[in-house]
């Protein structure tokens, strides 16, 4: 019997080649009773290792290799041997024997990580180790350990001293002398010394294999990872690479044969394993308690706040029965919350919401929390769950045995950061942290790194990585090999074949630790005793070593503080509308049935609106024809992979339009499915269906929903499915109805929305639509100021706004601020134009823009030299950029400082961009302080001709990504007409099935996972957006044109189905319109 007690996983980031799960599966295959994981300076892979062990039915021991700075350098080849192995501190291999040991290990890692000023590998000090040594077992280690290093440095005596030092630190019972045999002559020399030392100090010997990969085959991946770690190539890595492929998990008989001469070293592995009693199921994590006034319990305090909230929310509605129902529901929820001991959790989230309200930060709960009237009463969510008859069990149930999930949407940017910093301040640096996000190797990153390792040149790497497909849909040919062949590589060539193989094998291996977009973990006591904490790359933020899945698996509660671009837009509008339009704006009191808003939604005129602007949404909106808020809720939920894959969308739309009768799977389900016309669209409906047709409890039904989506619980799902069938049979459902119900559950339990979540999003969607329809200038400015967000590029947003009558003015040094701003239209002061801000001048730094704004405060700039002189921060590249985008054109009034204008000044187009460029080149010359202010003697005019329209377009898109002038297609319209090309706005005139020819700038390319390889293109022209459908065959035929051309001409058959217009392409060809670099949003 043998237990492997020293293994590194891929979570030793570039020092191990196998995922923890894979190591555990292999250990189980080798019938090991237990195994230990010791990753470098972290417990990154520990939860996955622990859970995999639970699944495999074996014990997982947790430990880590800890770098210690003042114990010396780790073993390196002697100086006379050429090598590139950098000096590194040696590492102690520590195993957690008890919970105290585990907590010490977490604290020790946190200490070493947070001692660094920023995110870094870090190393502990001997004093830290001494402080946190209790409950830990120390191994003398392999190449990285103190014994090997001391032996090489000072021979036997030094090695003996090093091991003695360990026994002083950890105690003699806690130190094992480690032996590894990788068929290496020098290692055997060390082993002999180690045996002598162990005998001398009466320490136990311990055989390990210093595992770095599960199987010998993965050694190649390890070598590639090593080259990535050391920024080199395989050809020049030399001794950095593994000597052989022996560091893999060995079966007991092999390792017993290897240590035949030292059987106690094998026996001790089992002995030590039995000593290591700590299991990760006992983390010691507790959610913090909320401080309540004396005489109150958290439950009573929560009940009081809820009662107040119910009164505030429902009494103004004047609906007594609703109020009574809300009170009843609140009592039911409070009882369950009390029973589950969750009052503190609700109060802590409420506390964050209170902070946001105090600070004027918009906040709204999303997800299933909106099913709870307690959340509604506390102001966490904005949807009335009682009024909308939402199902509480989707949020919380007694059976589920896990913490509820409350996600808060905040305006992205500074406001969200304020909320995050509040949580840090409230719970302390060691009490709160963000959850991590493990960045893994995917197609492109694997292709790039493996190529670098093999020594490919930069140009080839660029070509390769660009061609690795990133579509959501992958067809059978869309393999890495296929992509590389398309990139011009001969995949039959041995080196290329190896490259492709390596890329595939690197997929999903961890690359580094990132930061989750908003998940925060808080803890009663010290979080750093539960999981190690380290610096995030963002200043002022710390991150735990586990990602959100691991946190959920380890039952650690996470509060998501998510940044939502549209919330930031709404927040900006709350400022812009009252300031400019002099009208109050309260998002909670928006007119519920605003006709222009619904008209826009019905006509799918929704560019820029939250959740309903995508092409798929636009094609569904005319069919759904929303007339009330619930229609928007449905609209938000229906364009999801679940309903689409479950074939729910078409039946719903047909029933909505009266083209198909409303039927139910079973009469019993009518109350549940009535609102959605007999078609299940929400997760709550599935839960209710299971409760009604199969007599499930709420908790069981919720468990069923979760089991469907979780690949790990296949066995449980099968069990629940058979229970579902039994229940349905008992309730008299016919087999065909049973099948339909099971299919609908299976198809979108995972990908469908909860109704409450859809309702929360629908609120924001309606608010965005209302603002766009009523305050277009404010909404557009806010949208432009919060990019990137949404589905369309700023250029498309500007063009859409212009089509709706908004004037958008270019960047101007005399008038622009950093963000886009509103300017009253001279003709009608109640109407506003949007002035592009300096933030759209690509490459212009905020500091420089601020200097411009500051310098023009006393008086406007007189000329380009005046501008250059008064804003010394403006370098020539900045001036040149501003001149190219026309931001200096307003300096024409005194262009030459009062000098007479040339006679042909007006004929030449006034003071134009080239005049400015000519002056910029003079003003930006390195003249020195003496001659800086010297005016140019004959600067009255420039000899340059005005930019052509094409040149202006190119300059606009290169400098701002936007043109405020006509759309590039507008200039080509006469020629296009001769070619028989219809404008997007004219397509409605055509009948369904008629041939059509459309052209435009490609603004989106999509290949959704649910569309069976179809590609959807949106082409923009001066009249609007035309949609094209590309079949897989046409895509293959015109692949390059479709992927890379910016302007396309598409011929095909017009499809007009209930005012949803698109052209099914028969041919696609590039169109020479402009060299301007219009951007397309691709691969959604």
């Amino acid at each position: 019997m043998y237990v492997e007690l020293h293994a590194r996983s891929a979570f030793s980031f570039l020092e191990g080649a196998s995922l923890p799960e894979l190591l555990m599966v292999r250990a189980a295959g080798l019938e090991m009773p237990a195994m230990a994981l010791l990753d470098r300076n972290g417990l990154y892979g520990a939860p996955r290792f622990h859970l995999a062990a639970q699944r495999a039915g074996i014990r997982a021991h947790i430990g880590a290799e800890i770098a210690v700075l003042d114990l010396g350098e780790r073993l390196r080849p002697p100086a006379w041997l050429p090598h590139a192995i950098p000096p590194e501190p040696l590492r102690l291999s520590l195993l957690a024997e008890t919970q105290a040991g585990y907590q010490n290990l977490c604290r020790l890692i946190t200490r070493l990580k947070l001692r660094e000023p920023t995110k870094a590998e870090g190393a502990a000090l001997l004093a830290d180790v001494a402080e946190h040594s209790a409950g830990l077992v120390c191994l003398t280690g392999g190449d990285e350990g103190p014994l090997a290093s001391a032996l090489a440095r000072g021979g036997y005596e030094a090695a003996l001293h090093a091991v003695e030092q360990l026994t002083h630190l950890f105690g003699p019972r806690q130190v094992y002398v480690e032996l590894q045999r990788h068929f290496d002559r020098r290692q055997e020399h060390r082993n002999q010394a180690a045996v002598r030392i162990a005998r001398h100090l009466r320490l136990p010997l311990l055989a390990t294999n210093g595992v770095s990969h599960a199987t010998p085959y993965e050694r190649e991946v390890l070598d590639v990872l090593t080259t990535i770690r050391h920024h080199t190539t395989l050809a020049s890595a030399g001794r950095l690479l593994a000597l052989n492929a022996e560091r893999h998990l060995r079966p007991a008989r092999e390792i017993e044969a290897l240590f035949r001469d030292l059987p106690e070293a094998i026996a001790n592995t089992c002995e030590l394993s039995s000593r290591l009693t700590y299991q990760m199921s006992d983390l010691g994590y507790r959610f913090p308690a909320y401080p309540v006034p004396e005489g109150e319990s958290m439950q009573s305090f929560l009940a009081k706040r809820t009662t107040e909230g119910i009164a505030n929310r429902y009494q103004p509605k004047g609906d007594r029965p609703l109020f009574a129902r809300a009170q009843k529901q609140a009592a039911r929820e409070l009882e369950l919350i009390g029973k589950l001991g969750l009052a503190g959790y609700f109060l802590i989230v409420w506390d964050i919401v209170q902070f946001c309200n105090l600070e004027g930060i918009l906040v709204q709960g999303r997800g299933s929390a909106a099913n709870s009237v307690v959340c509604y009463a506390l102001g966490i969510t904005a949807v009335d769950p009682v009024g909308m008859d939402l199902l509480f069990e989707r949020f919380l149930s007694e059976e589920r045995g896990e913490w509820p999930d409350i996600d808060l949407d905040l305006p992205s940017g500074d406001d969200r950061e304020k909320a995050i910093q509040y949580v840090y301040a409230r719970y302390g640096q060691l009490g709160a942290a963000m959850t991590a996000n493990v960045i893994t190797y995917r197609g492109r990153s694997a292709a790039r790194e493996a190529g670098k390792a093999l020594g490919f040149d930069a140009e080839t790497l660029d070509r390769l990585t660009k061609l690795v497909g990133a579509w959501e849909w992958k067809d059978k040919d869309d393999s890495l090999g296929h992509n590389f062949q398309a990139a011009g590589l001969d995949i039959q060539h041995q080196r290329i074949a190896k490259y492709v193989e390596l890329c595939q094998r690197m997929q999903d291996l961890p690359r580094h630790l990132g930061q989750h977009s908003g998940g925060m973990v808080v803890c009663a006591g010290h979080l750093n005793a539960v999981v190690p904490i380290e610096w995030a790359s963002m200043p002022g933020r710390t991150v735990i070593q586990w990602d959100k899945e691991d946190c959920a698996d380890m039952k650690i509660i996470k509060i998501d503080l998510l940044g939502l671009g549209m919330m930031a837009v709404l927040k900006d509008c709350l400022d812009l509308v009252p300031r400019h339009y002099a009208e109050p704006l309260d998002l909670a009191q928006l007119p519920p049935n605003d006709p222009p808003t619904y008209r826009a939604l019905q006509q799918a005129d929704t560019v820029g609106m939250f959740q309903v602007e995508s092409r798929a949404q636009m094609s569904a909106l005319p069919r759904n024809h929303p007339t009330g808020f619930y229609d928007i809720v449905v609209q938000v939920a229906i364009i999801r992979p679940g309903p689409i894959a479950g074939n729910m969308m078409n039946p719903y739309m047909k029933r909505r339009q009266g083209l198909e009768p409303v039927t139910y799977y079973h009469p019993l389900l009518e109350p549940v499915l009535k609102r959605t016309l007999g078609v299940p669209l929400f997760q709550e409906q599935l839960i209710r269906m299971a409760m009604i047709v199969a007599s499930f409890t709420g908790g069981e039904a919720e468990e069923l929903r979760r089991a469907v989506g979780n690949r790990r619980s296949m066995a449980r799902m099968k069990e629940l499915e058979s229970r579902l069938r039994r229940g349905m049979t008992a309730n008299g459902l016919r087999p065909d109805a049973q099948e339909k119900i099971i299919q609908s559950i299976a198809s979108f339990a995972l990908y469908g929305f909860p109704e409450s979540h859809a309702a929360s999003f629908a609120l924001i969607a309606y608010a965005s639509a209302y603002l766009k329809c009523n305050y277009l200038a404010a909404f557009t400015a806010a949208l432009l100021n919060n990019q990137p967000m949404g589905f369309y590029s700023p250029a498309t947003l500007v063009k859409d706004a212009q089509r709706h009558g908004l004037r958008v003015k270019p960047v101007d040094v005399q008038r622009s601020a950093w963000p886009c701003t509103l300017e009253p239209e001279p003709a009608s002061p109640q109407r506003f134009a949007v002035r592009l801000g300096f933030c759209y001048a690509r490459g212009l730094r905020y500091r420089v823009a601020s200097a411009i704004i500051c310098a023009r405060q006393p008086r406007p700039f007189l000329s380009v030299p005046d501008l250059a002189l008064r804003v010394p921060d403006l370098g020539k590249p900045d001036l040149s950029l501003l001149a190219q985008i026309g931001a200096l054109n307003s300096l024409d009034a005194n262009a030459s400082g009062g000098a007479p204008r040339p006679p042909d000044f007006d004929k030449r187009g006034g003071f134009h961009r080239r005049d400015a460029l000519w002056q910029v080149e003079y003003a930006g010359r390195p003249a020195g302080p003496l001659l800086d202010a010297l005016p140019e003697p004959d600067a009255a005019h420039s000899p340059l001709r005005q930019m052509t329209i094409e040149e202006r377009l190119v300059a606009d898109f290169a400098g701002t990504g936007i043109t405020v002038g006509p759309h590039p297609m507008a200039y080509r319209r006469p020629v296009l007409r001769q070619m028989g090309v219809l404008a997007a706005g004219e397509l409605a005139r055509l009948r369904d099935g008629q041939p059509a020819r459309i052209a435009g700038a490609v603004i989106t390319r999509q290949r959704p996972g649910t569309a069976k390889g179809f590609v959807f293109l949106s082409l923009e022209d001066e009249t609007g957006i035309a949609n094209a459908i590309i079949t897989p065959a046409i895509y293959e035929e015109f692949r390059h044109t479709i992927l890379y051309e910016r302007f396309l001409l598409i011929e095909g058959k017009l499809q007009n189905q209930q005012n949803v217009i698109s052209v099914k392409a028969r041919s696609v060809r590039p169109l020479d319109v402009s060299a301007a670099r219009l951007l397309s949003h691709d691969f959604h």
Binding site: L917, R925, P943, L944
Partner: protein
């Protein structure tokens, strides 16, 4: 004194054109020249036909192959050098003063050759400027090269016109600016920053630059503005430095033999005569010879190559003036690398350099004379092989005995102290056998039981191992090795090191422990 007159000859796509010399059958076909190491070969040169098809420089081989009908050839520096030498010789026939403005290997991204000829006062001898240009073009065409030629009283105007216009251009005196006005800016070979500025100004032709006010341009672009303005007007002064005048111009001797020479001895005799000429020319200019490239034109091309040329080069450690030393080096090199077939012509191209001046230290030990040492090393290389002379240098690799021979260059630093014989150093010394001895080994399981050495079976009394190592798994030269340390008693107690190569399934005796 007659007015100056310059003829500029510009050969675009030089690599593709040079390759056509060896493959005239491809003349009318689209052609792409590949450079770089497989599998990462890229298109380096093109002819107009392949460019028209859409092939572009920088494309990978497999992409270029996807264009139907495009012939792909590997780049041959030798062919290019030969073609360039022929071009130069051709130009020499029209003027004694020829300056090379661009050589084919000057730029790694594209290939061209540009020569400037001073043809002042040649009208009576060779005809009108147009006739001279036409005659030169004809001769160049006969070499298989397509060139553009331009004649002007201003060298810069001739250069720009030749770069920018195909065929023959003759620019009359004083007409330089109008003649150049329509040429695009790339002929000026601007820096990226200059190109960006002109693009921002909407300037696309030389005429537009010439029309800019000079003072304003200089105020903006500095001295470069002045130069570009003069260039655009075709009046930038040019001082022609002929190759003959240039200190570092290569010295070339070319000889076509009456009969093919098969033996090395008569060839060395002929080479010696040419070499003597070259060294004499170098000595006259107070120069020495830094390197000599020998191109031997073969009677038939060898089966392994597409070219009928055998090229070698000798580079003494220091430039030498003694032609005997150079000749000896050439002789030793050719004996080591004999030409595969009889020789019909040869070209010697020697690179002159300043004579070395070495100040010997007063107390420095006497070292052999550089030239003699070079000859000695060449003799040694001939005796033992080229990669076996120099000083060994360990490689950063796990591969056993990984080393290479580096040129012997004793450093100034004191030799590194020998590693202290402290405890980690094994007490045994290994006497490595190089090359290792192939032996038969009797096995018990995977371990050696006996060794068959020199006809005797020697039983193994104890062993340790295997010690495994492998590497280079990403290449075809993947290696793998298992080593064993064994002890034998007879004929005398010894410890040996054995190695097993699983790839070759072969055992070796690689060393003896002392």
């Amino acid at each position: 004194m007659p007015a100056a007159l310059y003829l500029c000859l510009h050969v675009p796509d030089f690599a593709a054109q040079a390759a056509l010399g060896a493959h005239p059958e491809l003349r009318d076909q689209p052609l792409a020249i590949l450079s770089g190491q497989p599998p990462l070969e890229y298109v380096f040169g093109l002819n107009p036909a392949s460019r028209q098809l859409g092939v572009a420089t920088g494309m990978r081989r497999i992409q270029a192959e996807s264009f139907p009908g495009v012939a792909l050839l590997r780049r041959s520096r030798a062919q290019e050098d030969h073609a360039f030498a022929a071009l130069l010789a051709c130009a020499d026939g029209f003027s004694p003063r020829v300056q090379v403005l661009a050589t084919p290997d000057e730029d790694e991204s594209f290939s061209r050759a540009t020569l400037m000829l001073d043809i002042s006062a040649s009208e009576k001898l060779l005809g009108s400027p147009r006739q001279i240009a036409a005659a030169l073009s004809r001769q160049v065409h006969a070499l298989g090269l397509r060139a553009s030629a331009a004649v002007s009283g201003e060298a810069s105007a001739a250069l720009l016109a030749a770069r920018g216009r195909p065929g023959i251009t003759v620019i009359a005196y004083g007409e330089e600016a109008p003649a150049l006005a329509s040429l695009p800016l790339p002929v000026l070979e601007l820096t990226d920053a200059q190109a960006q500025t002109f693009a921002a100004w909407g300037i696309g032709t030389l005429g537009q630059i010439a029309a800019l006010p000079l003072k304003s341009l200089v105020a903006r672009l500095g001295e470069d503005g002045h130069r570009l303005h003069l260039l655009a007007r075709g009046v930038y002064p040019h001082l022609l430095v002929s190759e003959a005048d240039a200190a570092d111009a290569p010295l070339i001797e070319h000889l076509v033999l009456e009969h093919p020479v098969e033996l090395l001895e008569p060839l060395i005799f002929l080479l010696g005569r040419a070499l003597e000429q070259i060294t004499r020319r170098a000595i006259e200019s107070a120069l020495a010879i830094a390197s000599v490239e020998i191109s031997l034109q073969l009677e038939t091309s060898p089966p392994s190559s597409t070219t009928a040329q055998h090229c070698r080069a000798v580079r003494p450690a220091l430039p030498v003036q003694d032609f005997h030393i150079l000749l000896k080096l050439i002789q030793l090199d050719l004996e080591l690398h004999p030409p595969p077939s009889p020789i019909v012509a040869f070209t010697l191209c020697a690179q002159p350099a300043r004579r070395p001046r070495v100040q010997q230290g007063l107390f420095a030990p006497q070292s052999p004379e550089a030239g003699r040492l070079e000859v000695l090393l060449a003799r040694l290389r001939k005796l033992v092989g080229e990669d076996r002379v120099g000083s060994p240098e360990l490689l950063d690799s796990h591969a056993p005995d990984a080393f290479r021979m580096a040129p012997f260059q004793p450093g100034d630093a004191a030799p590194a102290a020998a590693p202290a014989l402290s405890a980690p150093t094994p007490a045994l010394a290994l006497r490595a056998l190089r090359p290792p001895l192939v032996v038969r080994v009797g096995l018990q399981g995977a371990a050696p039981r006996s060794i068959f050495l020199e006809g005797q079976q020697l039983p193994v009394v104890s062993h340790s191992g295997p010690w495994r190592s492998d590497g280079a798994w990403w290449t075809t030269s993947r290696w793998c090795r298992e080593e064993w340390d064994v002890a034998i008693d007879a004929p005398e107690p010894r410890c040996l090191r054995l190695a097993f190569d699983p790839g070759a399934n072969c055992w070796y005796l690689t060393g003896l422990y002392d």
